[in-house]
């Protein structure tokens, strides 16, 4: 503390320690918050094809095309410890070969300060809904769920499933369109 530099050093070190404590405090104030919000998913159209899947096994695989609507109000999720949300729509279903299949169909990043009211109509999926076999045809229970990763300033990276999912049966035949 006897020279300018030693004073600057202790001042800077003390400020950094205080900032670390404040960041931890920011994490503590939001650590136990419930980040689930209701999500309304509606599927308007499903089409099923049987095509060559060059990435998987040699046989032809099932490829589904889903047209869906999503509406949700994400405003309650955002607070001072949230930088962005990574939303993704996933399909879950069981087949004979696998008891649990999860396919991500669509995703979106919502930054802090952006419009938090989601309202999408007649959305096409961003990614191919390929099964690794023929498990989609006549599948009675395919569940679509919207989940999100909460990206914080500090602390844990929670993975939250929105409450409100939709289950639908898939068509019995290929190349036919099923409306709901």
């Amino acid at each position: 503390m006897n020279t300018v530099l030693s004073r600057a050093n202790s001042l800077f070190a003390f400020s950094l320690s205080v900032m670390a404590a404040l960041t931890f405090g920011c994490f503590v104030t939001t650590a136990f918050k419930d980040r689930r919000v209701p999500v309304d998913i509606h599927v308007s159209k499903v089409m099923l094809k049987n095509v060559d899947d060059f990435t998987g096994p040699r046989e032809r695989s099932d490829l589904g095309f889903i047209t869906f609507d999503i509406s949700a109000d994400l405003e309650p999720i955002f607070d001072w410890n949230v930088k962005q949300l990574f939303l993704y729509l996933s399909a879950e279903y069981a087949t004979k070969s696998n008891s649990l299949n999860q396919v991500v169909l669509w995703d979106k990043i919502v930054l802090r300060g952006e419009n938090t009211k989601l309202s999408f109509r007649d959305m096409k999926s961003k990614y191919f809904f390929f099964d690794d076999g023929n498990g989609l045809r006549a599948n009675k229970n395919i569940t679509l769920t919207l989940s999100w990763n909460v990206v914080p300033n500090a602390g844990i990276l929670p993975l939250v499933a929105g409450s409100g999912h939709v289950s639908l049966p898939f068509p019995e035949t290929y190349e036919t369109t099923k409306s709901y």
């Binding site: 600057a8 202790s10 300033n153």
Partner: protein, 110 residues
């Protein structure tokens, strides 16, 4: 000419006294800790209210700047109680032959 002026500048720069006395150092430490802690509390509460952690950071940085101005330069208030040094004792002529001996001892230690 140039070289001598820069050397002169450096010596002037080094001759600026930056030290504080002991009480002044304690006072400076207490002042900057107090300012930063207070700005941290204010910033945390303000950030919590408006839900913007960025403002918490800005307010703490503001407190940092204020305490830099207040405690880095050796303001007169930190130099009010200088140490009472003993007055210089005039050297007696008998000490002069001892000085080279001291120098040789130092060399041996190193």
């Amino acid at each position: 000419m140039h070289f001598s002026s820069t050397a002169n500048m450096l010596s002037i720069f080094k001759s600026i006294p930056t030290h504080m006395d002991y009480k002044g150092q304690k006072l400076a430490e207490q002042i900057f800790q107090g300012i930063i802690l207070i700005s941290a509390v204010i910033g945390f509460i303000y950030g919590l209210i408006i839900q913007q952690f960025g403002w918490t950071v800005y307010i703490v940085m503001g407190g940092f700047a204020v305490s830099c101005v207040l405690t880095l330069p050796p303001w007169p208030m930190y130099r009010k109680s200088p140490l009472p040094w003993q007055p210089v004792i005039p050297e007696s002529s008998g000490e002069s032959p001892q000085k080279p001996q001291d120098g040789s001892k130092r060399k041996k230690h190193k």
